[in-house]
Every structure is written in structure tokens, then in C-alpha cells.
């Protein structure tokens, strides 16, 4: 073996890392810019430069009140929810080796919705109690899905099919509850079901931030294993990975991320589904491209919320109405282009 051979390997590795690093940095800048723009807009417009100053502690009292107290919790909730959904989708899609396996396609978020609607309609609950029900619903749905899909280990297609089945059941329950409810309450439940950031405060930010801090070490540890899991169960066993343990760990993390995001802002559709494939194509990463997926999730939610709040004059839409419209065309564009080049799938 020669030194040149080692250099070829080192160079190939460096090239891969550089690409992801550049994409990640650019995405982070774009997310921050969108974040600042969303803080500057509203009934009282503040120049973006003043927003940045205020964020770093240099604004006057009036802007500080508007930016830090009125607008920041909502914007931060949006970023964190988007990040959580992006990460959750990336883990689910990689574990199942299938882009359909995002939490908003398989049953997880539908389960959360059914429970939340039950809390709103039947138990007349609001606020934190609804969130708690949503988390319980997501976790219970995921557990049911995992147990039903288990047969000497969990295979990808069984997980997806059973997930879609459970999702359908959960949707039926939701519809049943809605048709039985009084109109005003049904309307309230419907807004929750679309996914909205309106009126989010620091308590939402706090619960999301705590979830991230707690899950981060596990995520770093398990995502390292996800790269091996992607090579197929047999190869992964051969490389000394305890396949079922790490798959279960990854699913638990992905479910918790999706559950907490749904509890905070309702089932914002399409983010978990669309962010990871875009991230993978931008970074040209064969792996899950976790950081980029999280950033893209945050970007999709932030942009959608900008549009939902400000593009229609006085009418403010729930963010979930817009996410699909923002995310889907870009994914379709990427798929169409990749197919023309011949490397799509």
C-alpha cells in the first residue's frame, strides 16, 4: 500500500465533508435571515438591522419589548418545531429506507391528532392539557405500530403499511369526534388540526428546548449507528451493530421529536416528509443528513409562517395551510430534475 492511496481516501473523505459543511452553513445563514425578517414584520414594522441589534442585546426599550416579548416566542417555537419535524422525518425515512415513512404519513401525527381532538371536543380541555394528550397519542400510536409490525424484528414495509393503517383508523376517530362536536368547538379543533403558531409563548419554547437538550446526546450516539443500519440488517449485524436495539432507540427518538413538535403547534403537515429528501439532495449525502434536515425543517416552517401571517393582508392563516404549498413544489422539482438526469428514485 502506498501513501498516495491513503491520500486518495483522505481527499475523498474531505470532499464529502466540505460539501455538507458548506450546505449546512449556507442553510444556517438563510434560516437566521428568515428568522430576523419574521421578527421585523407585523403591525409595527422594525428594520431588520434593529432586530439583529436587539437580539444581541443592543436595542431600545420599545423594540426590545416588541421583538423579545411579543414576537420571539412565536418565531422560536416555529424554528424548534420545524427542526424537530425535520430531524424526526430524517430518522424515520432512514430507518425504514423509504421516503414514505415520515411521521406525518405513517400514523404518528394522526394518533396525536385523534387524542388532541378527543381532549378538545369531549373533555373540553385547552392549552397544556391538549399538548399532553397529543404526546400520549403519538407515543401510544407508535408503540402499537411497533408491536404490530414486530415479527423477529421490524421490517420497513410492514412498519409503513401498518402505520398507514393505524393512521386511517386515527383519522376516522378524529372525523367521528368532529362531526359529533358543537360547531364552535369543532372550529377550534380544526384550527388545531391544521397546525398553527398563533399565540405561542415561552412555555412552548421551554418544553421544546428541554426535549432537544435531553435527546441530543442519544441522537448523536444513535445517528452514528444509523449510517450502519442503512447498509441493511445483515450487513449491520456483520459489522457488530445490535440492529433491533438501535432501531428501537432511533424510532423512540423520532417519535418523541414528532410528538413534542405536534403538541406545540399541531400537526403541521409535510415538513417532516419534505425536509429530509431536500437536505439529502443538497448535501449529496447518502446518509440521513441530520443537521441539514433539521435546518430545512426550520426553514420550511419559518417561511410558511411568514407567508401565512403577512401575504394575505389582514387575514392570518394557520401555518399548516402553507407548509405543503411551500414544500411540495420544491420536492417535485428536485425529483423531476433527478429523474431526467437518471439518478432519481
Amino acid at each position: 500500500m502506498t501513501a498516495e492511496a491513503v491520500q486518495v481516501i483522505a481527499r475523498a473523505r474531505a470532499a464529502r465533508q466540505t460539501r455538507s459543511l458548506v450546505v449546512t452553513v449556507v442553510l444556517a445563514v438563510v434560516v437566521f435571515a428568515t428568522f430576523c425578517v419574521s421578527l421585523s414584520l407585523g403591525d409595527f414594522k422594525i428594520p431588520v438591522i434593529d432586530v439583529v441589534k436587539t437580539l444581541f442585546g443592543g436595542g431600545d426599550h420599545a423594540t426590545e419589548f416588541i421583538v423579545n416579548t411579543l414576537r420571539l416566542p412565536r418565531a422560536l417555537t416555529g424554528l424548534l418545531v420545524g427542526t424537530a419535524l425535520g430531524l424526526s422525518g430524517a430518522i424515520f425515512q432512514s430507518v425504514a429506507r423509504n421516503p414514505l415513512a415520515s411521521p406525518d404519513i405513517i400514523g404518528v401525527t394522526y394518533g396525536a391528532s385523534a387524542f388532541a381532538v378527543f381532549a378538545i371536543v369531549t373533555l373540553s380541555l385547552t392549552g397544556v392539557a391538549v399538548s399532553a394528550f397529543a404526546i400520549a397519542g403519538a407515543v401510544l400510536t407508535a408503540f402499537l405500530m411497533y408491536v404490530l409490525a414486530w415479527r423477529h424484528g421490524v421490517s420497513s414495509y410492514r412498519l409503513i403499511l401498518i402505520g398507514i393503517g393505524i393512521g386511517a383508523i386515527a383519522t376516522s376517530i378524529t372525523s367521528y369526534l368532529l362531526t359529533k362536536a358543537r360547531v364552535e368547538i369543532a372550529q377550534q379543533a380544526l384550527i388545531w388540526l391544521t397546525g398553527s403558531l398563533n399565540g405561542r409563548d415561552w412555555s412552548n419554547v421551554r418544553s421544546l428546548a428541554i426535549t432537544f437538550v435531553v435527546l441530543l446526546p442519544f441522537m448523536v450516539f444513535l445517528v452514528h449507528q444509523l449510517r450502519i443500519l442503512q447498509l441493511g440488517d445483515e450487513t449491520a449485524y456483520g459489522l457488530g451493530l445490535r440492529v433491533e436495539v438501535s432501531r428501537l432507540g432511533l424510532i423512540v427518538i423520532a417519535v418523541l421529536l414528532a410528538a413534542v413538535a405536534t403538541a406545540a403547534a399541531g400537526p403541521i403537515g409535510f415538513v417532516a416528509f419534505v425536509a429530509p429528501p431536500i437536505a439529502r439532495r443538497l448535501t449529496r449525502s447518502p446518509g440521513p443528513a441530520m443537521i441539514a434536515s433539521g435546518l430545512l425543517g426550520a426553514l420550511v416552517v419559518a417561511l410558511s409562517d411568514l407567508v401565512a401571517q403577512h401575504a394575505f393582508g389582514d387575514m392570518q392563516l394557520p401555518v399548516g395551510v402553507v407548509t405543503g404549498v411551500v414544500g411540495a413544489p420544491y420536492l417535485m422539482f428536485l425529483l423531476a430534475r433527478a429523474n431526467r438526469v437518471g439518478s432519481g428514485g
Binding site: 500500500m1 481516501i9 475523498a12
Partner: protein, 304 residues
Amino acid sequence: MENVVEHSLAADGLAVGYDQREIIHDLSVRIPTGKITVIVGANACGKSTLLKTLARLLKPSRGTVLLDGKSIQQIPTREVATKLGLLPQSPTAPEGITVADLVGRGRYPRTRWIRQWSKSDDEAVAEAMTSTDVLSIADRPIDELSGGQRQRVWIAMALAQETDILLLDEPTTFLDLTHQFEVLDLLVDLNKSDDRTIVLVLHDLNQACRFGDHLIAMKDGDIVAEGNPSEVITEDVVQDVFGLAVKVVPDPVAGTPMVVPIGRHTSRTDRTDTAAAGSSSGNLAAAALAASAAANGVCRPTPE
């Protein structure tokens, strides 16, 4: 390999099955160290099951697989992965992964998430890719490669694990003839250069005879015969294992046993007008083959 102790692999009283169906009932075997062992047998005879059990992918219901004399199920799976590498029959690669990236993942059992990638990992990957001749395509995505190249890349990934024992499940199945020989020649190189113990499942008996030092013939989850090719591949054993009447003649190139199936339509008299019509044509064809082998002179494999 720099290890002083050579690793040994054996099985004792194995019973393995899926669900309710038991495939292997009571099987004991010793894999000769530093040799190429080929497992042969008809479809569904349990040869892949045996290989997977040896690789601890399947847990036996009775009996044990012994790695260096210890039960493989008792050794941490990651430690096993530093001694024993596996190439499954149809491995899946994530879309768009490059050759160097894939081979690098073979280093997984030797890295910890704290101890990140180091120079020695680069060296192991470079060595694995040099010996499988895939260094020049390091940056290419796997999806763009030919079947033979792809199989060499997967072998490189298993080599990057730096294990003394390598198990391969039908590594030639989806390859054309040229690429089949390319892969098998590569395995012989790897066996010769590092005294690696290699175990593989093959369908082609002639290739098994040519490339295997040690053959294991299986039928209904049992070992029918094992030993060197000329002991194992006899007309009686092939008749027993595959239920097919054959002639075994010396391979005109390697001198190893060569299996010539007889079959029901051996001599297509409707087509071969040179064959003497009406005679017992099966024997005639076999005799002709044997004569041609004798005429060419049976070559012994040339020592390198």
C-alpha cells in the same frame, strides 16, 4: 495479519430454523483455519442457514457456534466483528453513496463515537481498496458501477474490517462468467496473501472444486461429505446431494474434479447428426468429453 493467534471457527451440535420449521437438526463442523472452505448443496439444503448461523445472524435453538473456542453468542457482537467479517447475499447500499464512503463504513467495529476517524482508518480503507482494485473509482457512486465492480467494493468493505475470517454468501450469484472468476480469483489472492480463513457458499460445483481447499456438501440440513474436492465431489455424492446423474472427469485446466451432468436430454439426437444414431448416447457424450480431457493433457494448477 499481525495477530499471533489465528482465529478458529467451529460449530457443535447446531439446530437452527425459522419459525416452526427446523432447517438444520444436528450439525457439527470445524472450519479449517487459513483455508478456503466452500459450502455446496441443492437449493434449500441449509447452506445459507449454516453460513448465517456461523456469522451469528441466526441464533441456534440448540448447540453453539464456537469462535476461538468460545460461544459466539457470549462474545460482544462488536468484538466478533473485529474477528469475523460477513458479506450477505444481497447487501443494500444507500442511494448515492460513494465507493470510499461505503468501504469506510467497514471500519465501524473499530471506531467508537468518542474515538473519531484516524489515520489508521484511512490506511485500512486504502489497503482494502488497493487489494480489491477499486481505488481508482473511490469517488464514484455505487449505483453507477457494474455488478462485478460493485461486488469488489462490498468485499473491500468487509476487508476494511480487518478480520481473519471472512464469510461470503453466494458472492458470484448475480455476476456474469468473467466477473465470477474475477471475484473468485480475488478471494484466492486474499487467502494467499494473509492466510485469511474464507468460507463461501457457491452454486457452481466446478468453481467450488477449483477454488476451494475444503468442501462441505450439504443435504437436508446435514453434512453429507466434507474434505478436499476430489474426496467430496464424486458421482455418488453428487447423485445423493443433487439427485442428478453426472459424470465426474478431471477439469482440463485445473485438474480438479469437473462435474458433467447427464440429464434426460443429454444428447439432442434431433440436432447432432454426427452422433451415431441409436447408440446409448449419454455414455457416448461422456466418453467423448473424457477423451477430450485426456487428449488435452490434464494440467495441474501452476504454483505461483
